[in-house]
Each structure stands twice: as structure tokens, then as C-alpha cells.
């Protein structure tokens, strides 16, 4: 078995593990929904006075995380603040969720092995054609996800991240695979390493931002619908932060993506100047990179424009990511241009 075969094997193993992680994350969401139902039942029971808990104690497992006591005792250094953005129902510590994360890490390691062995067998960075770009790009998505959840608990995005990565890897593993070939002269440049890598990083952040914006929209709908948990369709939403919090998280992730994308645009221009003799020529790929950049600039503006904050700006982030995906798939394969690097 040569290195490239090892790479392919690792990749498919990674995908199998990711699939299991996907199931674990999905089960966790299902469990959250069940908890919300239970909590809603309990509340209803309490409200009707049928419950035995007359002292009004909160259910241990579920209850607002936000304590409303504002302590002003002089000896307390800080005051516990009301967190209006916390979830309505605090989910239980979930073993499935931890299994999901553990599986993601294992899958990530296999995925990284696939990427590195591909690079070694090609003797260059493993992002010079579509197959490799998909492999490295999805690796970065998982990496960014794992890094972000250390700081902010976004594990509820696991289903989405695993789903996206599985689709991308599946499609590219089946349709885009090409054997290792040497780079044509136009791609032999340090700018390949920089430009494409930063583009993938940007894509990874945009992907997370997309997920957060999409959930933000659902959450917003739920908030508009009122607090009655019984009527809720996607019950697990009650265990997630408020739409405003999700929007702020999405914004933070998306601006990081935007900065990488701006750099991608510039690094691409510098490279284009060296390779093609002009830094900007409205080549189809350049056009789409520009369109994406402008959409996200619009998104950032929307957040500072009255009437556009909230759901409307979230739609822009979603359109932006759709354009990123379009750029990567349809534009690469079907549009004619100088960026003929798909290797297909």
C-alpha cells in the first residue's frame, strides 16, 4: 500500500467516524427535545397545582440558568448578573454529546492523517486540486469547530458541522478524486500555499457562521411564537442561547472569516500578477471571490443598519455561505476561466 492509498483509506475511515459522531450529535439534539418536553409537562403540572412541589423549587435538571438574585451584600466582590441571553431550559450534562465530541476528535485525527499522507506522497501542500482542497478545507472546518468549542460551548452545532463535512467529503471523495500528479508551472508558487490555505480557513469560519445564523433564524421564529414550550416544533431550540446571542456569535465568527477572505482576495491578486501578468482580470473565479466579499461586507453593514439587524442580516450571512459553496463547486466545475485547477 503506498502513501496515497493510505491517505484514501484514512479519509474513508475518518468519514465513517464522522458519521458516528453525526449520529451522536443528532441523538443529543433529540434528547434535548425530550428534556424540553418533560420540562414543559412539569411546568404545566405545577401551574395547575397538581404537582407535589409546592415549595416552588426549580426542577434540578431544567430551569433557567439565569439567577435573578442581584446580590448587593457588601462582601461580594462581583454581582451575579441576569443573563437574558441564556437558554430557557438548561440541558443536562449529556454523555452522547461528549461521545460526539470524542468521535469528532478521533475522526479529525484520521482526517489529518489522510491529509498529511496525501501531502507527503505528492511532495507538496495537499491543496492543489479540488479533491485535496475539499479534504483540507473540511479538515479546517472540523479544526476550527474543535478549537472554538474549547472557548464557547457551540457543541450543539455538531450535527451541522458533521453533516456538512460528510457531504463535502463524500461528494469530493467519490467525484473529485484524482491521482497525485505534479503541479503545472502556473501553480508552482508560494502563493498557492498562502492563498488557498487562507481561503480554506475563511471558508471554515464562514461555515460555522452560516450554521449559527441559520439556527438564529429558527430561534428567532421560536421567540416570536412565544414561550409556550408545548407548541414548539424544534424543541431542542429551547436549550440553545437566545437569537441575539446566536447573532453575536455568528458575527464574531463571520468577521474572522471575512478577514481571511479579504486576505485571500489580496494574496490571489498578488499571485495572479505573477502568474498571469495582471492582478485583477475579472476571471470567473475572481468575480465570485469578489461577490462573496461584497456580500459579507453587506452583512457587516446590515448589522449596523437599523431594520437590518437580526434576521435580515442573518439571511445575508446564509446567502454569503451559499455563494462560497457555489464558488467551490459549480464555478470550479462548470464555469470557464483561468482557474482551471480542479484537476478533473
Amino acid at each position: 500500500m503506498n502513501l496515497d492509498e493510505l491517505s484514501v483509506l484514512s479519509l474513508w475511515s475518518a468519514m465513517a467516524i464522522y458519521a458516528l459522531a453525526f449520529i451522536a450529535f443528532a441523538l443529543d439534539l433529540a434528547k434535548r427535545s425530550a428534556e424540553v418536553s418533560a420540562y414543559a409537562d412539569e411546568q404545566a403540572a405545577q401551574a395547575s397545582g397538581a404537582g407535589s412541589r409546592v415549595d416552588g423549587e426549580q426542577v434540578a435538571s431544567a430551569g433557567s440558568a439565569a439567577t435573578t438574585t442581584t446580590s448587593r451584600v457588601s462582601s461580594t466582590a462581583t454581582i451575579e448578573r441576569v443573563d437574558e441571553d441564556a437558554s430557557d431550559v438548561t440541558p443536562k450534562r449529556s454523555a452522547t454529546l461528549r461521545i460526539g465530541v470524542a468521535l469528532t476528535i478521533i475522526g479529525f485525527l484520521l482526517h489529518a492523517t489522510a491529509d498529511v499522507t496525501r501531502g507527503i506522497s505528492a511532495q507538496r501542500v495537499p491543496w492543489a486540486n479540488m479533491y485535496e482542497f475539499a479534504m483540507t478545507g473540511t479538515l479546517l472546518i472540523v479544526m476550527v469547530f474543535l478549537m472554538v468549542i474549547v472557548k464557547v460551548d457551540l457543541r450543539f452545532l455538531g450535527t451541522f458541522v458533521m453533516g456538512l463535512v460528510l457531504i463535502l467529503l463524500g461528494v469530493s471523495g467519490v467525484n473529485f478524486y484524482v491521482a497525485v500528479v505534479p503541479l503545472p508551472p502556473a501553480l508552482q508558487s508560494a502563493w498557492l500555499i498562502i492563498h488557498v490555505f487562507v481561503a480554506s480557513l475563511g471558508t471554515a469560519f464562514f461555515g460555522l457562521g452560516f450554521a449559527l445564523s441559520a439556527i438564529q433564524l429558527f430561534q428567532h421564529r421560536r421567540e416570536l411564537a412565544g414561550k409556550d414550550l408545548k407548541l414548539l416544533k424544534l424543541k431542542f431550540l429551547a436549550t440553545l442561547p437566545s437569537s441575539e446571542r446566536l447573532e453575536n456569535l455568528a458575527y464574531r465568527v463571520n468577521i474572522v472569516g471575512f478577514i481571511f477572505w479579504t486576505f485571500t482576495l489580496m494574496a490571489g491578486s498578488i499571485w495572479a500578477e505573477r502568474a498571469w501578468g495582471r492582478y485583477w482580470g475579472w476571471d470567473t473565479k475572481e468575480v465570485w471571490t469578489f461577490i462573496i466579499w461584497v456580500i459579507y461586507a453587506g452583512y457587516i453593514h446590515a448589522r449596523a443598519t437599523r431594520g437590518w439587524r437580526g434576521s435580515r442580516s442573518a439571511w445575508l450571512a446564509i446567502i454569503g455561505f451559499a455563494a462560497v459553496m457555489f464558488n467551490f463547486t459549480i464555478v470550479n466545475i462548470f464555469f470557464k476561466g483561468l482557474h482551471a485547477y480542479s484537476g478533473l
Binding site: A77, V181, N248, M266, G277, D283, A304, T305, R309
Partner: protein
């Protein structure tokens, strides 16, 4: 969580609506000036900027769906051929020149006018803000989200506030003391760089547009095909095609000559998945400028030659078989290396030879060149490898009117055969002339002979290395705007980073003396723009201030009773 406030820096500590069109569009006074002012305010509003940005994104799409004259002129011709009814309609709407079209230009010009109208007042405002004192401490700090407090015993308000002032100043805040309502307070603000970055970012975008619009006009781009051994002189006449910028002056062409000494191509031979793929192109050239020693240089793809204010790029290459045509007496009437245009990855190439004078008729030949010729089952040749393993040239000969006497320039790569009679190949029953390097054949009808010259006659038989010269297609550019664009791009990047990551915030510390001799210290902050770390920052200030004032803590940092 706090919504970031609007960028307009009004002194109020209240959360502001996130827009700049002054809450409600003021009813304009009737009259011309009023309308102008109204229109201007609309144009420079955030909502318009957003609308124009989205329009720009949408307007850019068609240019990726249909070929553009600027980047793909052949594609446009093809499109007209394939869609004869649709193409003229699209053409009327400038769909083949999207990025220079009236509607695309209108959008981005309006956007940039809006941008300038936005940046100028904000810059003024920002200068004022930077000179202004941090605003008066709000009366009720505990209304703010980030509020926290602590009580210290045996301290006095004045010294507590003065130490808070020192602490904040050291942390990069501008500070101002306020007294009133029985309390002493310090008001602090930081992060002016955020707005500076935003202004630099937007101004640099204008800079990029201006650099391209103005600077680009002074440049030019020229193409020239040079066969190994030939010399190109940087004058207007010596270019095959030349696109000057609007303000270009031909006298500014740097006078130099460039000789292509050698052009080497390396092919992949180990990896069977990519057998024959070109993996390196290297042109060795010599440059000569008046009064200077000749210099040996190399040009590669991705490594253009920067010489004498021009950038020389290696953008294409192919074979240029050297062909000589002699009349029946043996006198050469044509001899030249003719660049053949590659048609596929194995460099099957097509070229045209035109012999207007010296023979009984005008003579035209369409040639096919196969670097490694193989006859397939149908009897046609193909090339199976791009290097010179078994080079073969086939020629279809035409006689008649070459159509070059009318004076209209004709492409050197195209033979218009309308007024000509085909003598060999095709339906003529006469086989095409087939030649290998060094071979000569008779032209039909005793018109003379044609020779495919061997450029390396000393080569052993059967070894065809270097027997056919190659040509390179060089692009020579001069673009004085390039450096400016890069500079502004760097400013865009720096401005973006500071404006998105430097937090702009206000922090207040207020000391209230109590009757029992203790002092309650109140802390609060207000975000000005996106600031996820505000609470932590306020807590950290309270904690460090407490430490300075000697609030006793155990190891875990919690206050001791």
C-alpha cells in the same frame, strides 16, 4: 447581551439605535437646496450603502455567466455563433463588458460617492471625539449591563478614585474626573483606534479605486511572440498587439532589446498519471539597454522579469518550425520560423505559411505539426507526446489570392482560402506534403520546393532533440498603479483588523462614601461597537482595583469575609 451602538459618537451613555439616518428621515424643506440636502442624506445613509453593496454583488454575477470581451474575446465570438438571436440582445445591455458597463459603473460610482460622503463627516466627528473629554459619569451606573461593585473599609473616596484613574490610564484609557451628587467618579474611554481603522479602511478603498482608475491609464500591455534566437525591441512597431492606457505616451517606452537565447521545457516522465505533463518552463534571455552591458536573465511562469520599468511575463509557448520555400531555380523566396499554435496538451499545432511573391502564383500553406507523430487507425496523425520524439510536419498547399494586397491587416495565424485552389491534402487526391526536420519536398505543379529546416543538424540520426525551435509568447506590461494598489490594499487590511478587533469602550468608576466609613466602588462599562469582552474587562478592572486598595482575598480570588 449588548447590541453594539452606532458609530456616531454622540456623548450619551444610552444605547443608541444602530443607524445613522437620524432616527427619522427629516422632512425636507421644500425647495431646491432642501431636496439636494435630502438626496445627499439619502445617498450617504447606511441603508443606501447596504443597498448599493448588494446591488454590486448582484451586478457582478452576469460577468461570470457569459464570456467577457476583456478576458475571453474568443469566447464572445463563439457565444455569438452559438446564440445568434440572444447574443445581440445581451450585447445591447453590455453583458459582454459587464465590468465596464454603464450600469455596473453607475453602481460602484454611486457607492463610492456615498462612501466619501460618509467618511468625510465621520472623520471630522472622529477628530472632535478624540479631543473631547470622556463624557460625564451617568447617574445610575447600576442600570448598565456590565455593572459590578465592591466595598472597601477604611479608605476614602478621593484616594480610591485617584488610584482607579491611575489604573485606567495605565490600561490605555483616556480619563477624566467628575464630582457631583455626593460622589466622586472617573470616566474613561479607550479604543479610538477602532474608528480610525474604520476610516482608514474606507478611505483606502477609495484609494484603490483611484489608483486603478487614474494610474492604470498611464500603463500599457503588449504581446509579442519571440522564437528562440530572435530579439524583441521594446518599440510600438515590434509588438504583435498593444493596448495602451488612456494617458499613455509612446515616448515613455523604455528603449531596450530582449533576446530569447533558449527556451527549455521539462516534462514529467516518472509519474504515469501525468506522463508528458509540462512541469517547468524556463526562458533564458539577454537584455540590452543603451549604454549598458548585456544581462543574462531568466523568465519563468510565476517569475516574471522585472526590467526597466516593465514586467515581462511568460504566458505561452509552442513550436516554430523553420520553413524555407524555393522557386524552381532554387532561389529562396521564403524562409522563416513560423509560430504554430498548440491545439492540445501534446502540442499538435497549426500554423500558416504565406508566400506572396517570387513564385508563379501566390502560395499559402496550412501546416500541422506533430512533435511525436503517430498514425492512428483512420490514417490521420496525432501527437502522443509534447516533446520532439518523432516530429512531423504536414502541409496542405493552396495557390491563388492570399488576400493581403487589399491592405487590410490579416492574422498571421489564419489563411483565408476563399480565393484559392487547394493543391494537396483534403479532397484533392494529392497527399499532403509530409516532412521531418531536414527534409525537402517538391511543391505541386513544379512550383518549387519546400524545406523543413533542421535546427540541430549535428544531431545523430533518429535523435530529434532541438531540431525544431520553440517560440515563447511574452506579455510586456507597464502599470504604474500597481505599487499604489498594493499600498492601499495593505491599508485596507490594517484598517480592517483594527476596526474589527480593537474594542471601543467607556468605563466608569464611582466612589460613594457610606456613613459607616466604608466606600462603595461602582464599576460599569459601555460598549461602543461590537465588544464581546466588555464584562470581563469591567470585572478585571474592579478586581485589579480591589487588589490595589488591599481588598483581602483568599487564593481563589474570592473576597474574604
Amino acid at each position: 447581551m449588548s447590541r453594539p451602538s452606532d458609530y456616531v459618537d454622540s456623548g450619551s451613555a444610552k444605547r443608541q439605535p444602530a443607524d445613522d439616518d437620524n432616527n427619522s428621515i427629516e422632512q425636507p424643506k421644500l425647495g431646491f437646496v432642501g431636496w439636494i440636502r435630502f438626496a445627499w442624506r439619502q445617498l450617504t445613509s447606511m441603508r443606501t450603502a447596504l443597498f448599493l453593496l448588494l446591488m454590486l454583488a448582484i451586478a457582478a454575477v452576469p460577468g461570470s455567466l457569459v464570456p467577457q470581451r476583456s478576458s475571453d474575446p474568443n469566447g464572445v465570438t463563439q457565444y455569438f455563433r452559438d446564440n445568434p438571436s440572444l447574443a445581440p440582445v445581451l450585447d445591447n445591455m453590455q453583458f459582454f463588458d459587464v465590468y465596464g458597463s454603464a450600469w455596473f459603473s453607475a453602481i460602484y460610482l454611486l457607492l463610492f460617492i456615498s462612501l466619501i460622503g460618509c467618511v468625510i463627516p465621520r472623520t471630522k466627528h472622529h477628530f472632535q471625539a478624540m479631543r473631547a473629554r470622556p463624557p460625564r459619569t451617568p447617574a445610575r451606573l447600576n442600570r448598565l449591563d456590565s455593572y459590578t461593585e465592591q466595598t472597601v473599609e477604611g479608605a476614602d473616596a478621593a484616594s480610591a478614585i485617584s488610584s482607579a484613574r491611575t489604573l485606567l490610564k495605565k490600561s490605555g484609557y483616556r480619563v477624566e474626573m467628575y464630582e457631583g451628587g455626593g460622589s466622586l467618579s472617573v470616566s474613561a474611554e479607550r479604543g479610538y483606534l477602532r474608528e480610525t481603522g474604520n476610516l482608514v479602511f474606507h478611505s483606502a478603498l477609495v484609494g484603490i479605486l483611484l489608483a486603478i482608475g487614474v494610474g492604470g491609464g498611464f500603463g500599457y500591455a503588449g504581446q509579442r511572440v519571440v522564437v528562440e534566437g530572435q530579439t524583441f525591441v521594446n518599440t510600438l512597431l515590434d509588438y504583435n498587439s498593444f493596448n495602451p492606457g488612456r494617458f499613455f505616451n509612446p515616448d515613455t517606452l523604455s528603449p531596450y532589446a530582449l533576446t530569447v537565447d533558449d527556451f527549455a521545457v521539462e516534462y514529467e516522465k516518472q509519474n504515469l498519471d501525468a506522463y508528458g505533463q509540462a512541469i517547468d518552463y524556463t526562458a533564458k534571455v539577454t537584455t540590452r539597454s543603451p549604454g549598458q552591458e548585456p544581462e543574462k536573465q531568466t523568465i519563468k511562469v510565476n517569475e516574471p522579469l522585472r526590467y526597466d520599468n516593465t514586467d515581462v511575463y511568460l504566458l505561452g509557448n509552442g513550436y516554430a518550425p523553420k520553413i524555407t520555400v524555393r522557386d524552381p531555380q532554387g532561389k529562396a523566396v521564403f524562409t522563416d520560423s513560423v509560430p504554430f499554435l498548440p491545439q492540445d496538451a501534446n502540442l499538435t499545432s497549426i500554423g500558416v505559411v504565406k508566400v506572396p511573391d517570387g513564385l508563379s502564383d501566390q502560395l499559402g500553406m496550412i501546416g500541422f505539426f506533430y512533435p511525436t507523430a503517430v498514425k492512428n487507425a483512420s490514417g490521420a496523425y496525432t501527437s502522443t507526446y509534447p516533446d520532439l520524439v518523432y516530429p512531423l510536419l504536414t502541409l496542405n498547399v493552396y495557390k491563388g489570392d492570399l488576400g493581403i494586397n487589399e491592405g487590410a491587416p490579416k492574422s498571421v495565424y489564419e489563411l483565408v482560402t476563399d480565393g484559392m485552389t487547394q493543391l494537396t491534402g483534403g479532397k484533392t487526391d494529392v497527399d499532403s506534403i509530409e516532412l521531418q526536420p531536414g527534409q525537402t519536398a517538391d511543391l505541386p505543379n513544379g512550383m518549387g520546393t519546400v524545406t523543413f529546416e533542421n535546427s540541430s543538424p549535428q544531431q545523430a540520426a533518429g535523435n530529434f532533440d532541438n531540431t525544431v525551435p520553440r517560440f515563447v509568447s511574452l506579455d510586456v506590461h507597464h502599470d504604474p498603479s500597481q505599487g499604489f494598489v498594493l499600498l492601499f490594499a495593505i491599508l485596507v487590511m490594517l484598517g480592517l483588523l483594527t476596526s474589527l478587533f480593537v474594542p471601543r469602550r467607556r468605563v466608569w468608576v464611582k466612589a460613594v462614601e457610606k456613613e459607616d466609613g466604608s466606600v462603595t466602588l461602582q464599576y460599569a462599562g459601555l460598549a461602543r461597537g461590537e465588544d464581546p469582552g466588555l464584562r470581563q474587562a469591567v470585572d478585571a478592572i474592579a478586581y485589579r482595583h480591589g487588589t490595589i486598595l488591599g481588598v483581602p482575598r483568599d487564593l481563589r480570588g474570592t473576597v474574604k469575609k
